[in-house]
Symmetry: C2
Subunit: 236 residues, 2 copies
C-alpha cells in the first residue's frame, strides 16, 4: 500500500451532482481507503474569490501603481495574505500530491480555478526569481490534472481539429505546475464525458480508480531543468 | 484612413494607473482619432462576475445535473441570459474588432477575463455544434491579444525556458478566438513590461500606436478550416 500520503483535491465545478463531483468523490474514497489523508478545496462551495486584488494583502508595500506579483513577494516575506489565501497555502504546504478536478472550458481550467492559481500560487510562496521550474518552491510535490472535455479523443490527437491534448494543457502543466517545481503526472482525461452516457462515465470512474491506486508509479511528464538555460532564458 | 470600424476593448487589470491601463487608453485614443467607434469593457471596474453558475440564466431547461454548455444553448434560443451577459453579448455583436488587453498571469489570461470567455462566449451565441473554427458564429470579426509578460523575449523563443509564445497563447488564439470563427491577428506582446522601466514602456506604447494604425493589414495567424477534418475530428 505504500507510504501514507497527504493529498489535496482542488475541485472546480458548480454542480454537486455532476460527473466532475463524482470524480472528486472517487479520489477521496479511493485514496482514503488506502490510508491516505485527503483534503478537498471545493472552490464553488467555498465561494472562492477568483479575482487578484488589493484586498488579498493585509499590508501593501506602498509602491504605486501596485504590481500584484511584487505585492505577493512582499506579503510572502511578511505573511501578509488575506485569510482565504493563507488557508489554501496551508493546504498546499501540507499536501504531497495535489489533484485538480475540473471540466475543460475554453481549452483551459474554469475561471474559479484560474483565480486559485493567480492568488494562491504567490511569488515567494510557490516560486521566486531564479527559483522556478525544477528549482520551484513546491518541488517534491506531485500534481495530477483530472479533467473532462466536451470533445472526443480523436479531436485531441496531434492532427486532430482541437490540436494535441498536451499542447492544450501545456500552459497549465508546464507554465503553472512545473513552474512551481511540481512533478507533473500524466493527466487523466475523460473525453466527451457528457456524451459518454451513464455507462461511459461509469467506465471512466473505474479507470480513474486504477489511476488513483497506482499514482506512485504513474508516468511523469519530462521537462527540461533550469540549468539547461542560460541567464537570458535561452537553451544553452 | 479606411472604413469606420467598431472596436471593443476588453480590459482586465485591477489598477487604473497600470501600464495595461495605459495600453487600453492608447487603443481608445488612437482608434478614436482615426474616426473609429470604440467601446471598453473594463472588467475590474465593472466588477464583472467571472463564475459560470445557474444565475447566468433567467430560465433553466430543467435537466439535472445542470450542464452549463447545454444551458447556454437553451438560453441562446430563448434569450434567457442574465443582464450582465446580455450587455457583453451586445458589445460583441456590435464589434468588428475585439482587442483583449491584459497581463499574462500563469501563462494565460487573468481569471476575470477567463470568466468573460466562460460566460459571454456562450454556445449558440459564439459557436454551436458543427459551427466552430472557420464556421464559428463570430466569423468576420477580428481579434487581437495585447498582453504584457513578466518574462523577457528570449524566454519565449522556441527554445526558451518558457516555451514559444505562440505555444503559450495557442489555447486562447486557437481554442477561444478562432474556435468562435474570429480572424486572429498576430498578438502585440510587451515583454518584461515591469522591468522595462519608464523608457521601455514608452517605447511599447509607441510601437502599439503603429500596430493600431495598421490593424487593417496586420498579419493573421493561419489555422486549418473545419473542412480539413473528418466527422471524428481527424485530419483528412
Amino acid at each position: 500500500m505504500g507510504e501514507i500520503m497527504n493529498t489535496l483535491v482542488v475541485f472546480a465545478h458548480h454542480e454537486a451532482a455532476s460527473f466532475n463531483a463524482a470524480m472528486k468523490d472517487q479520489a477521496v474514497a479511493v485514496l482514503s481507503a488506502r490510508g491516505h489523508q485527503v483534503m478537498v478545496s471545493d472552490l464553488y462551495a467555498m465561494n472562492f474569490e477568483p479575482l487578484a486584488q488589493r484586498s488579498d494583502f493585509t499590508e501593501l508595500s506602498g509602491t504605486e501603481p501596485m504590481n500584484y506579483l511584487m505585492e505577493q513577494r512582499n506579503a510572502s516575506a511578511k505573511n501578509a495574505f488575506s485569510e482565504d489565501i493563507k488557508a489554501e497555502m496551508d493546504k498546499v504546504r501540507w499536501a504531497e500530491t495535489i489533484i485538480f478536478q475540473c471540466p475543460i472550458w475554453w481549452f483551459s481550467v474554469p475561471a474559479i480555478l484560474k483565480g486559485w492559481f493567480d492568488r494562491v500560487l504567490a511569488t515567494g510562496f510557490s516560486w521566486d526569481f531564479g527559483k522556478n521550474y525544477d528549482q520551484g518552491l513546491l518541488r517534491g510535490k506531485k500534481a495530477l490534472l483530472s479533467v473532462t472535455t466536451g470533445g472526443s479523443g480523436p479531436m485531441y490527437e496531434s492532427t486532430g481539429i482541437n490540436g494535441d491534448i498536451h499542447q492544450m494543457l501545456f500552459p497549465v502543466h508546464h507554465g503553472v505546475l512545473y513552474f512551481c517545481g511540481m512533478t507533473v503526472l500524466e493527466p487523466f482525461i475523460a473525453y466527451a464525458a457528457f456524451q459518454a452516457g451513464d455507462e461511459g462515465r461509469k467506465k471512466y470512474l473505474e479507470q480513474y480508480k486504477e489511476v488513483l491506486e497506482h499514482l506512485d508509479s504513474r508516468a511523469v511528464i519530462a521537462y527540461r531543468p533550469h540549468a539547461d538555460f542560460d541567464d537570458s532564458g535561452r537553451l544553452k
